[in-house]
């Protein structure tokens, strides 16, 4: 297969950046999107040009490192896929592909398609945990968890922190990311003691980082590589309101 690629090139945060057009030929239909970029980069290296920088690591859709807008869609064609899961057979031979980094103010571009997503880590540091010291845990089966709750918590916990929700949202909202963690812990008995502080702190940090609010656009769910449902955002809102209307312990 062959493709015309229009890729965003930007040397660093201060460089205004621009699209550069490349042609790639002889791409296997079974190759992944990232393997197609490998072929391009190999050619660029051979020509002595700087290859396109992009984050990637596990290449099996779980580490959350990769992520780019392909023809305006976060992680490209297909549903429930990270960029590394996307195969070239999903595109038409000869198609034009426009490749951009995540576009969101809290995710500044570092280089080319690489963005800085440390804002997500700071939200987690603010409250995305259950405070249990190593060694302080009770016997694992001491507290049963209804299977339905455990399963729903797992649905939420599947988040890979890639940022596609933010990139696809017109408001650059991180509500789905925050909701996934808040919801996971709100559903489990282990998460109850810190339920109130957790949601308040995470939302506060989310706002501080400059992420927008949710306006029920649902693009996040549509583009989430793990298919995380917006019902978790509803739970996040409920948790937040509940925290605001209850007294501090």
């Amino acid at each position: 297969m062959k493709f015309t690629l229009k890729i965003w090139r930007q040397k660093n945060q201060n460089d205004p950046g621009r699209f550069v057009t490349y042609e790639v030929n002889n791409i296997s239909a079974d190759a992944s999107f990232l393997e197609m970029l490998d072929v391009l980069n190999n050619e660029l290296v051979q020509k002595g040009e700087d290859p396109v920088a992009f984050d990637h690591d596990c290449r099996e859709g779980i580490c959350g490192s990769c992520g780019m807008m392909i023809n305006g869609r976060a992680h490209g064609e297909g549903r429930s896929m990270a960029t590394c899961d996307v195969r070239m057979r999903m595109y038409k031979d000869g198609e034009d592909l426009v490749v951009e980094p995540w576009r969101a103010k809290p995710f500044p571009v570092v280089k080319d398609l690489v963005v800085d997503r440390r804002a997500f880590d700071r939200i987690m540091q603010a409250g995305g945990f259950i405070s249990v010291k190593t060694g302080a845990a009770p016997e694992a089966n001491a507290v049963p968890v209804p299977k339905a709750n455990a399963d729903e918590a797992m649905d939420a916990a599947a988040c890979i922190g890639c940022g596609a929700c933010v990139a696809s949202c017109p408001n650059s909202s991180a509500m789905l990311f925050v909701a996934a963690k808040v919801s996971q812990f709100a559903l489990l008995p282990q998460g109850q003691p810190e339920r109130r502080e957790r949601v308040e702190r995470m939302i506060e940090q989310m706002d501080k980082e400059g992420f927008g609010a949710c306006s029920n656009n649902y693009a996040c769910e549509a583009e989430c590589p793990k298919g995380i449902s917006v019902t978790h955002i509803a739970r996040l809102n409920r948790e937040f309101l509940r925290a605001e209307f209850t007294e501090k312990a």
Binding site: D38, D116, A137, V143
Partner: protein, 637 residues
């Protein structure tokens, strides 16, 4: 070099508790005076950094990723073992110890393996308390499944994403400590060398991958949690960035490298498709609970699987190993798959694959039942191959997946360099010559949560430290050598992209140092690898600037180290004139084609000592004593 394993005296079930009692402690108010450097934030590194930070030590944690959550532990699918005996099927600490030691083909220390089994139950407790959503049954209690090499159900799991959930648990604990400022996290920093001062590991030199700056950090102890070296083979199930540079630099600074040839080939991976391929994808071992492995009875059979009647199929694992069936250990399953394909029974376009078939399980239970257990794995397979595994059997083939070898550590997880500790896959300690499924997560978290926090404290409390800053001569020297190496890589100006050279190394490793090894093949590899290395330093092409994100430069440095480590793997494999676990020397097999150990000559840990770039490394031996489990032929019949 002296190898003292420091295994405590006493009966095996009391060694760890007695040892803990006798260890020196650091008073809680004194802990903040000690700085501990942790390199790597996967399961072992994140759990260690979080636990040490919580205890009050000053922790500096490093990762080449932007976020600790990207570490490759996240990709582990199947599960984590613990002998909770919730299934009431006869499990116990002793049985897990026995299975793991036997699974490792009697090439691990009894005392270490026993401790691992002993603390594994606490890991499950810890993770449940952290909110890890393990699978539960309808009662609300925890569910278990079976893994290879065991006849009990002791594996805890979170769908096919157990590694992800455990890592996010450890990441959450670490994030809490970063927020509390007991741990300082340095992102996008790659450790490029170790600084040893007065014989003690006192710090590291890293390259800031954003800016290219060479930075030094001082500590009282250094913990490496940098994972395995399977990417030496180029194609593996490792993440693209997984590398051996940190452990290799430590080796060159005096840490012994143990059993490098003990590499694990995982039997159930998606077969290689084409030259463009950048990595191989694993299909979890848990699939062997319900999938049946087979090939056509007739060699070269080109019919589609649905057209091959039951009577013309060879379920070879069930035939050869009736009691373990499809759940034999990984090394056995891999070798048999290779044998079938070598004999011409392979299937699919390349003929280098066997079927993993779920038709019976779907008939027995239902499609929905399979979907709930393995849905994400089936989706992943479908995405990659464009075939629907619910209706067509999966095609699988072995791929390099894990490395049991690693830096030599004593019972306290300390290397031959005082103050340098190694945890998780990066050390050699617990899996012998073959790791059983669901044991890697167990070992990573055991080391990080429940072993290192004790043994590191003992070291700190019983050691005197000179005051050292980054201006110390040792740090200047390390920085200069790191800078010199970066400059050298940037100045090769050859013609070949480094990935191509890596691929050439991988081909040699897979061909001659892979699943079936011979003296002739290994000797050939020992000739070819230095040739590729020489070509690398003459003809590699590293483009871009050194002062910004530069993937090519990062790759080049890692490949340069693989080119040296690959030779050591081959050397170790050639010297070990026996077959054991993942190390299969074709000259040494039983008439049935099983691995034939030589306990008289090779019941030892091979710890290689660096003696200079131009010199052959020195082999040191740590004899293995078996007081509780008598080594026998590992039978899964």
């Amino acid at each position: 070099m002296v190898l003292n394993s420091n295994i405590p005296d006493g009966p095996i079930e009391k060694k760890w508790s007695e040892h803990r009692f006798h260890m020196k402690l650091v008073n809680p108010s004194n802990r903040r005076k000690y700085t501990v450097i942790v390199v790597g934030t996967g399961l072992a590194g994140a759990s260690a950094a979080a636990s040490l930070g919580e205890m009050g030590y000053k922790v500096l944690a490093f990762s080449y990723h932007e976020s600790p959550r990207r570490a490759h532990s996240i990709a582990a699918q199947g599960g984590i073992n613990a002998p909770k005996n919730y299934a009431n099927d006869g499990d116990s600490v002793y049985r897990l110890f026995y299975d793991t030691l036997k699974g490792g083909d009697y090439r691990a220390r009894e005392a270490n393996v026993y401790r691992l089994a002993e603390v594994s139950g606490s890991i499950i407790d810890q993770c449940v308390a952290q909110g890890v959503p393990f699978a539960r049954d309808y009662s609300g209690y925890l569910d278990n499944r079976s893994f290879g090499g065991a006849q009990v159900s002791r594996t805890f799991y979170a769908r096919g994403q157990t590694g992800q959930q455990l890592l996010l648990g450890a990441y959450a604990a670490l994030s809490r400590q970063i927020g509390a400022k007991t741990v300082q996290f340095f992102d996008r920093r790659e450790m490029l060398d170790l600084t040893v001062v007065d014989g003690q590991a006192r710090g590291i030199v890293v390259r800031n991958l954003r800016t290219g700056a060479v930075e030094s950090y001082v500590g009282d102890a250094v913990v490496l949690a940098t994972g395995g070296y399977a990417n030496t083979y180029y194609l593996s199930t490792m993440a693209k960035a997984s590398n051996a540079t940190a452990v290799w630099r430590a080796y060159k600074r005096g840490a012994a490298f143990a059993n490098p040839c003990f590499t694990q080939i995982h039997p159930t991976c998606i077969p290689v498709g084409g030259d463009y391929q950048s990595k191989l994808t694993l299909m979890s071992e848990s699939l062997r609970n319900d999938g049946r492995i087979w090939v056509p009875k007739k060699s070269g059979d080109t019919r589609s699987p649905s057209q091959i009647p039951e009577a013309e199929r060879d379920y070879y694992l069930e035939r050869l190993y009736p009691s373990f069936g499809n759940l034999v250990p990984r090394d056995v399953a891999s070798r048999r798959a290779k044998e079938m394909c070598d004999k011409g029974f392979g299937v699919g376009p390349t003929k280098m694959a066997v079927y993993l078939d779920f038709a019976d399980a779907i008939k027995r239970n239902s499609k929905a039942w399979i979907e709930e257990k393995y849905g994400n794995l089936f989706d992943m397979y479908h995405e990659i191959t464009a075939e629907d595994p619910y209706s067509v059997p999966m095609r699988i083939y072995p791929a390099v997946h894990y490395t049991m070898g690693g830096l030599w550590v004593d019972y306290n997880l300390m290397t031959t360099i005082p103050g340098l500790f190694v945890v998780g896959e990066a050390n050699f300690s617990d899996h012998g010559a073959n790791r059983l499924g669901a044991s890697a997560l167990m070992q990573g978290l055991a080391d990080g949560y429940f072993v290192l926090p004790y043994t590191l404290g003992n070291y700190l409390a019983s050691t005197k430290f000179a005051s050292v800053t980054v201006e110390h001569e040792g740090f200047r020297e390390t920085r200069a050598s790191v800078q010199e190496r970066v400059d050298r890589l940037m100045s090769i100006k050859g013609k070949k992209p480094v990935s191509e050279i890596h691929r050439e190394l991988g081909k040699v490793m897979w061909e001659y140092v892979g699943m079936g090894r011979t003296a002739a093949g290994l000797t050939k590899a020992l000739k070819l690898i230095p040739e590729i290395r020489e070509q690398f330093w003459k003809d590699a092409k590293v483009v871009g600037d050194p002062d910004t994100i530069n993937n090519e430069l990062e790759k080049a440095g890692r490949i340069a180290d693989f080119l040296e480590l690959g030779e050591l793997i081959a050397r170790d494999a050639l010297h070990r004139e026996e077959s054991c676990g993942g190390h299969f020397r074709e000259e040494h097999q039983t008439p049935e084609g099983e691995a034939k150990r030589n306990d008289k000559k090779f019941a030892y840990v091979a710890a290689w000592e660096y003696t200079g770039d131009a010199r052959t490394p020195k082999l040191n031996k740590e004899p293995l004593k078996f007081e509780y489990v008598k080594p026998s032929e590992r039978s899964y019949k």
